[in-house]
Symmetry: C2
Subunit: 143 residues, 2 copies
């Protein structure tokens, strides 16, 4: 997807291609740093179909603030939740989960975490095409 | 301003009229709680011309994430900064400041803070009409 188009997914700066975490993602994503004082805040933009691997935050949780497009959030053993701009998700520590775009539309969320000593991310297996394609095609009404 | 119209200022829930902090605001504002775990997050929507009093956060700072309309942020002794959706402001502790809508348009920002023992807000004098009207009329281009 064209970088100019991805810049329109949200009002927040797209940033640079997310190379650092690419080994733990399927598809291409972008990372824009918005704040690093008290709360670490990044804008994460996913190309259509892009999602991160199953992973666990140890020590501290994470908050997603959805700001553009449509995406999925799923906790292990639960149904995936369809996300749109204006939705907020709190991910408690020790919860196995993944998030990413729907298959036919880009998605952007802000990712927030409170830097804590001893906290870490545990990256697990990818969300396979089989798992990802089990998701119902969302019916999205334009506003 | 009509509540239905204010709901359109951002994609985030408008919440209820901000009665608790009304003594420290000029004009009407709304407060919607979005998250209370690890980081306290509210959506704050200001009617046109609405602003909070000069105030200081002691112990911990605050982060504003702008999500709709146009507003002002000003630190004591500095020029006011015009804010639009996609802007992020970090307000360090002990900085005297105020924020609010421009005079002719509503404004919404998310307000984030990390709950800390011993932190407090010190509310000071209102931003007078004289101070507020010194602000240049912003030239806002539609996107």
């Amino acid at each position: 997807m064209d970088k100019k188009e991805l810049e329109k997914v949200s009002d927040f700066p797209l940033g640079e291609e997310n190379v650092a975490f690419a080994p733990y993602f399927i598809g291409k994503s972008y990372l824009g740093l918005l704040n690093d004082k008290e709360v670490s805040i990044h804008n994460v933009t996913f190309e259509p179909g892009c999602r991160n691997n199953w992973h666990i935050h140890h020590g501290g949780g994470q908050i997603l603030i959805c700001v553009g497009g449509h995406g999925w959030y799923q906790e292990s053993g639960k149904d995936a939740r369809l996300l749109k701009s204006g939705d907020v998700v709190y991910i408690a520590p020790e919860i196995k989960h993944w998030h990413g775009a729907v298959s036919d539309e880009a998605f952007a969320h802000l990712s927030l975490s409170v830097p804590m000593e001893g906290s870490s991310n545990e990256w697990l297996e990818p969300v396979t095409d089989e798992e990802y394609n089990m998701m119902p095609m969302p019916i999205i009404y334009s506003v």
